[in-house]
Every structure is written in C-alpha cells, then in structure tokens.
Symmetry: C2
Subunit: 269 residues, 2 copies
C-alpha cells in the first residue's frame, strides 16, 4: 500500500525480510527499497534501524506514513451475523489492535494466530466454515473477501511509517504532495553519564530546531552503551546542522546523518 | 523463560495476547502479569506501553531482562549437514535476526514463516523431511528437538525486557539478585514546541539523575502530539522526584509515574 501510494507504476519486487530488501538496494539489484520504520503491525522498527546502522548504511531519501486500518473480512458467501463467526484468524498484533472490538462483539470466537494478515485472509478464503480474518482492504481484494465491518481497530490514530532507501542522488519521482521535511541523525554519546543527552539537546534547543522524535537505543556492543535517533523537523542546511555537529563533536559525541528527506502521507481507501 | 527465571514455582497461566494478560491482572484473575516491554522478538513494545497508558493503568513492579539466543533446531533423527536442510521455519523476526547466518551457511534453503518460533519447532517435530526451525532452547525442549548449532543470531548483545505488573503493594517474592533499580515516567508536553524536551531534561540533569532510556511516542489523539517515556536509573524518592515533578508541572507538562522497580537478569542455559 505504501509503495503503490507513493510510486505510480514501475517494476515492483517483494522481499521476505527487511534485511533482504536492504541488501538488494545495497547490491544494486533494486534502485529503491521501502522498509517499515515505526509502529508497524509486525513491530519491525528496531530491526530496520539496527540493520541500517550496523550492517548496511543507506541513506533515507523519503518517508511514507500510512494509517493502520483493520477490517473484519469474511467470504463473499457468508450470510450470517457476528455471533455466527466461530473463529478469527490474523497476525497476533492485528488481533491485539482489535482486542476491545473482539472482546465486546465476539467474545466466544476462537482466536487463531497466523504469520501475517495476508495469510489469515488466504486461510479464510480457502475455508468453508464460518470464520473471519482481520486485515486491510488489500488483503480483502487479493483474496476476494467481503469487508464485513470496516475499521474495527481500537485506536483511531495509528500509523505505520516507512523509510524509502536509495543510493541515487537525484530526487525520486513520486505522485503525492510533500507534507513535511525531516532530517534524521544518529548520535552516539561518549559514555553513559548524567546529563549527556541534555547537553546534546541544548545544541538543538538554542537554535530553535524542533524535534519530532527522539529514541535511545542500546548499542550492540553490550548493555549500558546507548545511541540516539533524533528526527529534526527541517531539511539539512549548511549553517544550523554543521553548527550542531561541531558542538556535539566538541562534547565527544559522534554524529551521523541518516538522511534528509520529504514525508508523504498515503490515504488508503 | 522470563517467568521461570524470576519466579520459583507458583501457578502459571499463559495468555494469547498482551492485552488479555493485562486485563487479567486488572480483573484480579491473576496476581502478577509478565508482558514484553522492549526489543522482543515479536516487536511488541508499543502495544504494551500503549495498552498500559491508554486502556488499563497498572504499576510496573519489576523488570526482567532476558538475552535473546536463537538456535538451529532439527529432529533427533536428523543425521545430515547444513547443506541437506531444505527448509527453515520460524517467526519472521527470528529469521531476520539470523539473516547473515542463513545467507552464509544455507543460502538455498527455503524460508517458511510461522506465527511463532514455538509453532516452527512444532512443524519441524511433526515433519519427516530435512527441515529445521530457529528458536530458543525452550522450544527445543518442548518439541524434543536437537540443537544443531547454538546461537546463530547475528548480534551478540540482544535482549528482551519484560515488565512485571501487579496491583499488590507488598514486594514480590523472587529467586534472583536485584541488578539495578529504575523509575519509569510518562511525560506529556503541553504542545509540540522547540526545546520543550530540552527543558524537561534540565530538571533531571542539574540533579545529576541518570536516564537509561528515553523515547518519544505519538499520542493516539493525532499526529503531532507526543508523550515521552523516560527511565531514570534510581528508585523513586521523596526529594528529587517530587522536585522534578513540580518543575515539570510549572512548565505545563503532565507527569505520571509508571513504576519504580528492581531489574533482574535471567540467564537461560
């Protein structure tokens, strides 16, 4: 959905895992890779960031934000009511995202965990029993299922962010208007001392540079060592950012630019 | 593994989803709940924190840290080599965590995604083909599989953190020594303005209170509104913490204590 929403046509290839997709960009097998970055249904944030930082460093050239919408899917020949549904199939996180709905409306349906929401839709399509899947409209379309009820997820404002990775320096050609512009930095502190992060943030604060995200992550070298991922709400420039970098390096921090990129919002039907 | 490592004996119950476990503690069906908090193989951090913050507020009374170890599991009657293995079954995140190992040692094995590493071990145990699962030693033991090769995960220092939730005010009885003591806070900023987080961190910095984690999370009320989860490396006290809280409230921030609790490290064999 993210790829179709941002790129109009073009050859598409799917990969089984995030590292495979990143490797394919690094090996020039594909020109542009799209990988989940935050709040994905399968919770893959850490995997993407860790792989980009520790294994294959590729620049983030754009960000795609897609709202999460979970629907209750049934076969087209299903004519019953919610009470008739005996089993619900989905990925465990999709089940959890609809916990309140299931608890209230179908407390007696058996829960069956599948490896993905797509696989759940496939299971329902192939069955002849009164069972339902939880998934998005793409899963419904792919497996020719009816949407019995739309948007059954418990939280209205849930989004998945995707990073667009590419080695190419020219701007990517997209079909959507740009919503914002961000710069992502990775900052490694010299040691785990009180107030280090506060000093780092001072460099942004007195320049009135707004941060939209900050997250500490342990280094893979052991417990107690941390780095920070910081998203700044403005494009990289040649005055403010080099000033921040110089101040941080004077404090003994290492600063790396993960990307400076536009943000696009995809609104699936 | 986390529960067995921290609690010696006692009645145990398993739940299918994180919200179900949290609900059971809230409804007094169980006295103590253990839910994943960070870096879990299924990436469930956001789900736990979101459910605790938005749906059911329960205090965190302890934290359990368990190293992630992924092993290559085969049936006990398997006598071949790595090259003979035709399929690898596991949860997609376990597959991704062993990406380099698989790529190097078994590039031709087909990858099959299962809903959990336990389910993968079950599939291998029930098969008569030359297939392997990726999972931990508990999965090997449960399904009577051999560990063909230990610790095939790409990163050595990967951990899962679990939160222990309980309404009881008396200390929980555990079998491990305490490694550290933390206090977790949720801080909601009045609006998304430049430098707000910097001001918040000042309150900790000048008191020399060390932070072991900081993470911004969007509020469920829409994009652009954030709260912060901050872990402070010391127990709640009646001088420093109330001082921090008073300063933050003067800035217009809302401060909530999610828990003040000991940390325990479980070392699985």
């Amino acid at each position: 959905m993210a790829v179709d929403g941002l790129f109009n046509g073009g050859d598409k290839r799917s990969f089984s895992t995030i590292p495979e997709c990143i490797d394919a960009v690094a090996a020039d097998e594909i020109q542009i890779g799209v990988v989940p970055l935050e709040n994905a249904i399968e919770g893959t944030v850490h995997l993407t960031i860790d792989y980009l930082i520790h294994q294959v460093r590729l620049p983030i050239v754009a960000e795609i934000v897609v709202p999460i919408k979970q629907h209750l899917l049934v076969r087209k020949d299903f004519t019953g009511t919610l009470e008739d549904i005996e089993q619900i199939h989905s990925h465990s996180h999709a089940i959890a995202q609809c916990h309140q709905y299931i608890h209230k409306n179908m407390p007696n349906a058996g829960i069956h965990f599948e490896s993905s929401t797509g696989r759940a839709a496939e299971v329902v399509a192939a069955s002849s029993a009164n069972i339902a899947a939880i998934g998005n409209h793409l899963a419904a379309k792919t497996y020719d299922l009816n949407i019995y009820e739309e948007s059954i997820h418990d939280y209205a404002n849930n989004h998945t962010r995707f990073a667009v990775l590419s080695k190419r320096t020219e701007p990517i050609s997209v079909t959507l208007p740009e919503e914002a512009y961000k710069t992502s930095l990775m900052i490694t502190l010299p040691s785990d001392y009180a107030g280090a992060l506060h000093q780092v943030l001072s460099a942004f604060a007195w320049r009135k540079m707004n941060l939209s995200k900050i997250e500490s992550r342990p280094m893979k070298t052991g417990l107690g060592n941390y780095f920070f991922i910081i998203d700044v709400n403005q494009p990289y420039d040649h005055v403010l950012f080099p000033g921040v970098q110089a101040e941080m390096e004077a404090l003994g921090c290492k600063v790396e630019i993960l990307g400076t990129y536009p943000t696009y919002h995809v609104n699936p039907s």
